[in-house]
């Protein structure tokens, strides 16, 4: 709380100090702006060492100041007292913050110099929000509910516009609003701009509420797609108002309806066209991976502006661009680029949203625009609310006749309550032409009041309402495996029955589309490499491995950074960061969108079994002996390593096109080896039942490990019968090249069959491995057992990077191999086999 207060004060002071000279500068020196040089030359009497060049930087400076202030506002809003934030939606708080800021600016200068101008809003603030929404749109959900969404968007919006406009006009005629210079057409125009549900506000409020996904997609999809209707209605009525009443006849009305078709479909197809362009572009950008992420934003923005230029629906255009391109762009681009796009998209969208709400607040503090007409405003509020409810229930009733899963009453209540108006309505109101519509200020005022009402009041009450009505919430956890299995089974069953009945149902369309898409569209738009990597099994494999890795690291970190030493459970290594590049090279270039990763395998992940079965006690049993002997050597080499290495540790390399996190392959592989070894260790110990006492509570997990180990298909660990120790060992695999004092043993390294002269990485003088400090403090405990970690893969078709990674590395081993270890090694080696997929 204190920090936020501090921030607020800081900002206030900052603004006041800045705003005053800014305003002075703005208002005073209009001529000088054009000729700064002249001014300088005129008054020059001596050499100025430092000059205050405000005019040079004025515009960008103001922009950046406001962006900065918006960021600070968001920060302080987030840092507010938890009680406040749990009640108020963030958007509401930002508007209130905007009030405060507007007040400050107003106080400094008796005019609101920083308004939310429609061009700024429509061209610079809105597109990225829509692009973000559409890029992350859950396509399957969207398209399966598309019918309902379209009904709400088209007919719902028309209904809202017509009814609100007509009712207001009726009340005006009845004299409830006093004297206004306004006619039916203007009422209808006002109705059309106030009718639109706003995507920004919907996202902002629903994001905090977490309703079930069908409900969310209905409201959200409606808010996105209704722009088509809004633009048409607005333009049509605007033109009608300009034409004047008498000249409107059937032809004009017909043209209006026709324009809807053109605008909506034109905008959509334009968006799809740009999506195709974008997909083709990303298909060819293999060599400029550093900037390919930018293409997404540029082409998306182009789609928006082109549609705007052609007076088509810009929001629809950018929406469909995002929706259609996401799959191909994600497949074609490098994984790093995909991550970049995602993060940048979120950044821009969040920033824009903050600025929009902030400015919505700031623009309110302006005496020029406020015209208060009680009747108009209150009636608008009332009608907007009521007709939304009526419209929603009406259309849902019609839809439920055709839907398989009907929309429940409670969902309908939330849907009608969630019809929030936002900045789009304000933007459209501000765009009105004052000459044609004399009551523009009244409309702006009303729009602002409606926006505040919906965002703040309805935003506040949305969460309690949802809880009170017991709306079905979004599933908090992933479905259990059995649920997923059953869902899949039922899908198949239903599809089969549909085929038997000869009925062309949803499934038929979906399957037909999928087949068409797979054969033709993907061929065109996806890189051939990406298409190959879409092999189903392979992508699952990749996903699973990555999930394992991430679990592994987070578990390791959870256990504490020394876990690697104590229990060999996990290496405190940022697995993904280090291996990301490695993965990219060795693994095919497929995108794993972890956010859409649906497999809920946390229950069964390898690491969960790992962590439960690591017996730290057993470690010590074996480890202690070694430890004492090796401690000295360790210490010596530790020092040697770090004393001499610390200065050379960082290799700086500046490059515009390349930034690599850790490209030292040897180091990467060594750390990798350790971790894999430790994992293998744990499995081994679990299998041998080394420490049963520790696992009383996790007994079942141990058994799972057992089973896991016996018939594991995909993970690179050992598979097979536990007891068969009779395998003939290929002794070439085990070479005793350990020399005491040669360095920190890294027993994991196998002797390389091809090039035994590979020197130990840590002995290499120039660039060698600098194993993590923590890892060095303690040796991994049973090097012998883990010898067999590197690939015994003979098969060349392995794509498992973990295995391929360490082919070239050498193995060091302890001299004091216990016989049992040796035997275990034997059986490991003999029975190791990774089944092919």
């Amino acid at each position: 709380m204190a920090s936020s207060v501090y921030l607020c004060l800081l900002r206030a002071v900052f603004l006041v100090c800045f705003v005053n000279p800014l305003i002075q500068g703005l208002s005073g020196d209009t001529n000088v702006i054009q000729n700064p040089h002249h001014q300088l030359e005129e008054n020059l009497t001596g050499l100025p060492i430092v000059t205050f060049k405000w005019h040079h930087v004025q515009t960008p400076y103001l922009v950046i100041i406001w962006v900065f202030v918006a960021g600070l506002a968001k920060l302080s809003v987030v840092e507010l007292n938890h009680h406040v934030t749990s009640v108020f939606p963030e958007s509401g708080l930002l508007i209130i913050m905007g009030f405060i800021l507007g007040g400050i600016v107003w106080g400094a200068d008796r005019a609101q110099t920083f308004k939310l101008l429609p061009p700024t809003f429509f061209y610079y603030l809105l597109p990225q929000i829509i692009l973000d929404a559409s890029y992350f749109m859950p396509n399957k959900l969207f398209f399966s509910n598309l019918g309902a969404i379209l009904i709400y968007a088209i007919f719902g919006t028309c209904w809202n516009a017509a009814t609100v406009g007509l009712s207001l006009w009726g009340c005006y005629e009845a004299g409830a609003m006093g004297n206004l210079d306004i006619g039916l057409l203007q009422f209808l125009l006002f109705g059309s701009l106030i009718a639109a549900v706003d995507p920004v506000a919907v996202i902002a409020v629903f994001e905090e509420v977490h309703v079930n996904e069908v409900l969310f997609i209905l409201v959200f999809g409606e808010s996105l797609l209704n722009d088509g209707v809004t633009v048409v209605l607005y333009n049509v009525f605007d033109a009608f108002v300009a034409l004047g009443g008498p000249r409107i006849d059937a032809a004009e009305i017909f043209k209006g309806i026709f324009s809807f078709v053109v605008v909506a479909f034109g905008g959509s197809f334009l968006g799809i066209g740009f999506a195709i362009l974008l997909s083709l572009l990303t298909r060819c950008t293999k060599h400029i991976q550093i900037i390919e992420a930018g293409f997404v934003f540029v082409v998306g923005y182009l789609a928006y502006l082109t549609a705007e230029m052609l007076s088509l629906s810009a929001i629809l255009s950018i929406t469909f661009c995002g929706i259609c391109c996401q799959k191909y762009v994600n497949a074609n681009m490098d994984e790093k680029s995909v991550t970049t796009v995602r993060h940048a998209m979120k950044l821009l969208a969040n920033g824009s949203e903050t600025m929009i709400f902030l400015f919505l607040g700031v623009t309110a503090i302006d005496t020029e625009i406020w015209v208060w007409n009680t009747g108009f405003i209150l009636l608008t509020l009332l009608f907007v609310f009521i007709y939304r409810i009526i419209g929603t229930f009406l259309f849902t009733w019609m839809l439920n006749k055709f839907r398989l899963v009907p929309i429940e009453v409670i969902d309908q209540v939330v849907m009608s309550y969630g019809g929030l108006r936002g900045a789009v309505a304000y933007g459209l109101a501000a765009l009105l032409d004052e000459d044609k519509i004399p009551e523009k200020n009244l409309m702006i005022s009303t729009t602002l009041i409606v926006v505040y009402f919906t965002v703040i009041l309805q935003g506040i009450t949305m969460k309690p309402l949802v809880q009170w009505l017991k709306v079905k919430r979004a599933a908090h956890s992933d479905l259990k495996l059995i649920e997923k299995l059953n869902n899949r089974a039922f899908d198949h069953i239903l599809a089969a029955v549909e085929d038997i009945c000869g009925r062309i149902g949803d499934n038929w369309w979906t399957r037909g589309w999928n087949r068409f898409e797979e054969n033709y569209i993907s061929w065109l738009l996806m890189k051939p490499k990406a298409r190959k990597n879409r092999d189903y099994l392979f992508s699952i494999f990749h996903k699973l491995n990555l999930e394992d890795a991430i679990n592994y690291v987070s578990e390791g970190e959870r256990q504490g950074s020394l876990a690697f030493n104590r229990s060999d459970e996990a290496a405190n290594v940022d697995f993904k960061k280090q291996f990301g590049s490695e993965f990219a090279d060795v693994m095919p270039n497929i995108m794993v969108d972890m956010s859409t990763y649906e497999l809920g395998i946390e229950h069964f992940s390898v690491t969960s079994t790992v962590k439960d079965t690591i017996p730290s006690v057993s470690l010590d049993i074996h480890g202690q002996d070694r430890k004492n002997a090796m401690d000295d050597i360790n210490a010596h080499h530790l020092l040697q390593q770090h004393l001499y290495r610390s200065r050379k540790h960082h290799r700086h390399k500046y490059s515009r096109s390349h930034f690599s996190i850790n490209q030292n392959e040897d180091e990467v592989q060594e750390i990798f080896q350790r971790t894999m070894r430790s994992r293998l260790e744990s499995f081994k110990s679990a299998k041998m039942g080394v420490n049963p006492a520790k696992k009383i509570t996790k007994h079942h997990k141990k058994e799972l490990t057992h089973k896991h180990l016996t018939k594991h298909d995909l993970v690179f660990l050992v598979d097979s019968a536990v007891g068969s120790e009779t395998g003939a060992i290929n002794s070439t695999f085990m070479r005793d090249t350990y020399t005491v004092g040669a360095g920190i043993e890294n027993p994991v390294f196998l002797p390389d069959m091809d090039s035994p002269s590979h020197s130990l990485p840590w002995l290499m003088e120039t660039e060698a491995v600098a194993p993590s400090q923590r890892a060095q403090r303690r040796l991994p405990w049973t090097p012998n057992r883990l010898r067999r970690l590197a690939p015994m893969r003979i098969s060349t078709c392995s794509t498992d990077s973990f295995l391929m990674a360490d082919v070239s590395l050498t193995l060091e081993e302890h001299e004091e191999q216990s016989q049992t270890d040796h035997e275990e090694m034997c059986f490991f080696l003999s029975t190791f086999e990774v089944n092919r997929l």
């Binding site: 398989l404 997923k484 198949h492 029955v497 699973l544 896991h708």
Partner: protein, 154 residues
Amino acid sequence: MGSRASSLLREEDIEEIKKQTGFSHSQITRLYSRFHSLDKGENGALSREDFQRIPELAINPLGDRIINAFFPEGEDQVNFRGFMRTLAHFRPVEDNEKNKDPTSGEPLNSRTNKLFFAFQLYDLDRDDKISRDELLQVLEKVDVEQKMSIRFLH
């Protein structure tokens, strides 16, 4: 086809099927024409081969089980009644109570009956129990993805 098909289906048959399964008149006629088009041998009953001739069913992982579900225990032919009876399981659930008379038992598309039908699809050997192997078989057929994640089940 239309007229020939409906001429083989008498009015009282339709009524009976309607009462038993709950399909509407038009639905029954339509399904009868479908039944007829599937019935290549024209003997008024479908055999397993007739079902297997449907192309999409061949690539459906659970296709053969669905087909089996149509044939009652031990028989190889299913007549129209049986066909409709099985299909009736897939009608939407009606939660209204007004048509319920206590003597007719639960309608075929009640939730319990649907569950029972689905259970039978899993239970291949029809011993009223789903064994671990049977579950695994379904898993294998249906969802390779999940199978790969259940590394412990084997």
